[in-house]
Subunit: 314 residues, 2 copies
């Protein structure tokens, strides 16, 4: 085993997973004390939104790995996630040196003490940005752009209820360093992620999907962004067929898809699985043909997963 | 439910549990932004070492509570622990707003995002001290004394391998604010905790004990400090009888007692339970009459629990 440490975000990486891991790896290698030998890697390919951000700031996606041990690495730092089922395949056998995250803590444990910086803020990138300030380390322009992109992505341009009061200033300062206009760049980046017409239903349901264990049930919760919910619903039969095949192949109990309107900040919820009653109870609505409108919901983390957790535990 | 937030350390509180929770509650109530309405409470009485520290700095032990809901409180902040079985009795039904800790993460989960500051340093008090510095908040002399006491207690006056390189400076600065000589005060405080002769065997094995779930086994790991291991071993039969009764009453599988020589930095390990073979494998020694010498071992967290975890998982 080498002394190299991998830094990475979650599987099915989104822009915050990529942005926070790239920036935190740089910070770890360049801080004044306790310099580390880290390499940022990705657990999967970039989605179109993330690729837009990388292209804008002239960066390449980190190389993709699926096992640390296979690369001779046994120590890792996680950003933007902590749940093992969202992490690298051999996470159970690795030493976790650190975690920078803004999610709930679940399905996570270590054998030894570690560094954990968890805050209920809009993005993991927001926390990494604060660490640069604490360290007094200059932020390269492109990495400021990637952290900004992570924050914009996770908060839908600061409109999601997951946005923390401190995130507005973070966004402003990062936009300044990155040399972009927050609103113009933000909307362009989000729109780059809404090109669903070019995707098969199988690709669409897998753009940004996470697995949760809810009271013993294996539930996949996916989210796609759009500027036109009805256009996506025209493909509902095709999407439900793809989900059914996905459930069967992955031995899931349920699949919940959020189709999120990024302009008006609402979501259509599609449910396929054995626990439609739990999903209806979670959101206090009635599914028709397996879907229903959820007004004002844009955040999986704050407006969907806790509600599902409660309903599955009832 | 009130809007009050409880701040507390673990059950069977030691000096760091009390010191870190008192100081963090004060910090939370006095910071410039996001002032909270917290009350520090304790999950049990002070041990003699902690009482010595409280007396020295003119403070009272926080009031003892065993349930938050019974006090009309449903939001809590944990210091110096995260494992639920070491926490308040109704932890599973509460909202955990924050964690300040320096232990491994295990048997811990939340439904929502939270604040977590975890660092592999010598004491939870070390982390709280850094938060005062970041906040630019003046530290009251008595609270500096309690944080210093927590750090001295957990690191056996900076001699344990759990001592972090940054802890030496923390101790120096806290001693300065508290107005005590680090070495003189530290040794006096540690010695105050070694008065085992006055205790029954039942009291002795319960001074500083924590429960761990190791691969499905319920293992209690206790530690007592002494300046004379042979003197404690004279009471071995009495101690083993007390442990056996304790195991039976608490449905434990094993009880591991560390009798730690704080002057020479060694421990005698006493094991009672069904997995003596696992304990022998963990420390690569042979138990005789249920005990064996473990040279250089003073840290439960670094030199005992990870080794037991590995052995129980093998």
């Amino acid at each position: 085993m080498s002394d190299k440490i991998f830094v990475f975000g979650h599987q099915k990486p989104d822009t915050d997973a990529i942005g926070s891991s790239m920036a935190f790896s740089y910070l770890s290698n360049h801080r004044k004390n306790m310099k580390l030998n880290t390499e940022v890697v990705a657990l999967g390919p970039a989605n179109e939104e993330t690729q837009f951000a990388l292209d804008t700031f002239g960066l390449e996606l980190p190389r993709i790995v699926t096992s640390a041990k296979a690369e001779g690495v046994d120590t890792v730092i996680l950003t933007d996630h902590n749940e093992f089922q969202q992490s690298i395949s051999d996470i159970e056998s690795l030493t976790i040196m650190g975690v920078v995250d803004h999610h709930r803590i679940a399905n996570f444990h270590t054998a030894s003490p570690l560094f954990m910086s968890v805050e209920p803020v809009g993005s993991a990138s927001s926390i990494v940005y604060r660490k640069f300030l604490e360290e007094g380390l200059e932020i390269p322009k492109a990495l400021a752009g990637m952290m900004l992109s992570g924050l914009i992505s996770d908060t839908l341009l600061l409109k999601s209820p997951t946005t923390h009061p401190t995130d507005f200033k973070v966004a402003e300062e990062l936009a300044e360093i990155a040399g972009v206009d927050l609103e113009t760049y933000g909307l362009a980046m989000l729109k780059a992620g809404t090109n669903l017409a070019s995707k098969t239903a199988e690709q669409l349901i897998d753009i940004d999907a996470k697995t949760f264990e809810l009271n013993g049930k294996k539930v996949r919760v996916a989210q796609v962004n759009t500027v036109d919910i009805p256009e996506v619903l025209e493909r509902l039969d095709e999407i439900k067929s793809a989900i059914s095949a996905y459930i069967e192949a992955g031995h899931f109990d349920d699949f919940v898809l959020m189709i999120t309107d990024i302009v008006n900040s609402n979501s259509e919820i599609v449910e396929v699985g054995t626990d439609a009653d739990k999903v209806e109870a979670a959101f206090n609505f009635k599914l028709e043909e397996g879907h229903a409108f959820l007004k004002g919901a844009v955040s999986r983390k704050k407006q969907v997963v806790p509600q599902l957790t409660d309903a599955f535990n009832d």
